[in-house]
Amino acid sequence: MFFWSLVLIAVGIFSSFIYARSRIKLNSKKQGTKSKSLPNYYAQYVLMWCLFPALIVYFSWAIFQEQIIQNIVISNFEFIEGAVYNEGLLLAEIRNVANNPSFADGKSIEIINAASHYSSLRQISQISFYTSIIIIMLLGALYASQKLKPEFHAQHTIEKYIQYILIFCSSVAIFTTIGIVFSLIFESLRFFAEVSIFEFLFSTEWYPFIPIREGQTAAEGSFGAVPIFAGTFLVMVVAMCVAVPLGLLTAIYLAEYASQRVRKIVKPLLEILAGIPTIVYGFFAFVSVAPFVKAFGQSIGIDASPTSALAAGMVMGVMIIPFISSLSDDVINSVPQSLREASLGIGANKAETIKKVILPAALPGIVGAFLLAISRAIGETMIVVVAAGTAPNLTGNPFENVTTVTVQIVVALIGDQEFDNPRTLSAFALGLVLFVITLFLNIIALQIVKRYRERYE
């Protein structure tokens, strides 16, 4: 149904476009004046007046139709006294019977009645849907056609409409973000209604497995997130220890030493590193790096577990190298050439110039790159899920199993649970913490980078 209505709309706007264009040409010829704008703008004007009202009707039907029909069907349903109904099941049954009459066998008369009611409502809805689309397009075209006079500034109006369209598009992302933030906040509030916020933030025991059935002997759930934050921090530190030196030195090489040809090859290669799906890094960490870490740990007398903060952190470090190297490379490149010349002109060699002039000048931007990389690292999920483990150990030993915020969110959401117990709700609280931290890191990083840019441009 909705496909054919799209065809209908397409035909409608196409003909309105053709009509408007020939009409404005005719009108201006009749009056003997040149129109203020090119004929195409008038045609676009009419087209928009045809298209947007039709789209509004289209989407409101798509969104509300089923809901309204169901409400009417349910409110007219002849409930038998004393019987218990599950509304969702009942509706599913009615829909099944309506869509496929062979299911009607053995169903109660109420259901069959309701199903035919449902079908007839759908038919009415469909007819009125097509009629209202046609009417609204005609009305729109009619209204807009009145403006088809040579003295009307169609182009100005079109510009304005285009601006509205752009504003609408950009607000979609903003409102989605706001929506996500609010859902995080509200679900977290539900969690904090059951678990105290102090326990969550400061207690060190994380056993989210609450008894599901009554009388089960499992311990009470406890939700102290400190080990999780500590694990996240540990993995992040390992990752930064790998990524900062490698990324920064790569950036210095690319920006200051590499010839144009090398640069052209190496930079895209590094960016490929950023394009590898993180799950691939994850099993690379688990299959290749973790056993190596374990063997290495044993060789120096430390009992390493098969999954460890070190393995996950190292691979994550490799993953964020391109962030650091690419951003730092840009920053170093934007240090004015005149500073390089000044330093070299005094007789400094390249290393002195980099160490004493370029890096200090680029430092704020480089720190910004680090912060962005950190926020990327603590938000990263797949690598740690696969390679860091799920045990909430409060430890500073990178050879041990740790768990991170993102891993615990995954763990909390796996399985067939409704969002009505603290275990699943804890995912939202953890998500909120993660969101707040990365938000602040990003804001600080962007501020630093921005201030730095202003100074040199």
Binding site: S338, L339, A342, S343, L344, G345, I346, G347, A348
Partner: protein, 253 residues
């Protein structure tokens, strides 16, 4: 000829396949100001940058021919570019102080070349360099403020102080006043006149008045060739070449 400081002979410069300088030969005397003039794109800055090998920074730039500084060949693989550049200071078109304090800007050169053994000595060099650049009185109370906080003319004098802090023999100036107002320009020109007593100065300029005011020798470049070179007085009053005549009377360029 005994006091010839820089002796260029048949210098060709290519940017990729495009030739920018054609067989430049020039003799620059010690403790004189030599002005390089000519229309934009004539190669005068390119030539200036050959003298301290600044063209090395441009990957596609190839220099051939011979330039001797104090009778030592510098267009050679074996040249020690670092010591060459410590002997030849450079002041650029746009003031380019480091984003460091005024003091650190001037102290940069002496520190990296290890010219000083103590803090006092460093301070002395910084102060005397600033004095020689005529900037000391203006900034003596705020040596710890960033060099970029100074005005354009002060920044340029700071750059001159930075250049002379390593005690060079030659100072190259690439249109040092083109980003400055007339008053700051006048101050720099006076300064150049004083510096002449101790340094050999080569200055690229677009302003013929400036060349006439500050220089003793003038070289006129056109389309990558050195057209005429001689006493500034003579070039500006009675040039031999008609192209020079046309340029200084403002018929082209």
């Amino acid at each position: 000829m005994s006091n010839s400081k820089i002796l260029a002979n048949g210098v060709d410069v290519y940017y990729g396949s495009k030739q920018a300088l054609f067989g430049i030969s020039m003799d620059i005397k010690e403790k004189e100001v030599t002005a390089l003039i000519g229309p934009s794109g004539c190669g005068k800055s390119t030539f200036l940058r050959c003298i301290n090998r600044m063209n090395d920074l441009i990957e596609i730039c190839k220099v051939s021919g011979s330039i001797k500084v104090d009778n030592e060949e510098i267009i050679s693989e074996k040249t020690d570019v670092v010591s060459l550049r410590s002997k030849i200071g450079m002041v650029f078109q746009k003031p380019n102080p480091f984003p460091k304090s005024i003091f650190d800007n001037v102290a940069y050169g002496p520190t990296i070349h290890g010219l000083v053994d103590s803090k006092n000595e460093l301070e002395e060099i910084v102060h005397s360099s600033l004095k020689k650049a005529g900037l000391f009185d203006e900034v003596k109370d705020r040596l710890n403020e960033p060099g970029t906080s100074l005005s354009g003319g002060q920044q340029q004098r700071l750059c001159i102080a930075r250049a002379i802090a390593v005690n060079p023999e030659i100072i190259l100036m690439d249109e040092p006043c083109s980003a400055l107002d007339p008053i700051a320009t006048a101050i720099i020109e006076e300064l150049i006149d004083e510096l002449r007593l101790n340094y050999t100065i080569i200055i690229v300029t677009h302003s013929m008045q400036q060349a006439a005011r500050v220089s003793q020798k003038t070289c006129f470049f056109h389309l990558g060739e050195l057209i005429e070179t001689g006493e500034t007085n003579k070039i500006f009053t009675n040039p031999d070449n008609t192209k020079t005549q046309d340029y200084i009377t403002g018929r082209f360029g």
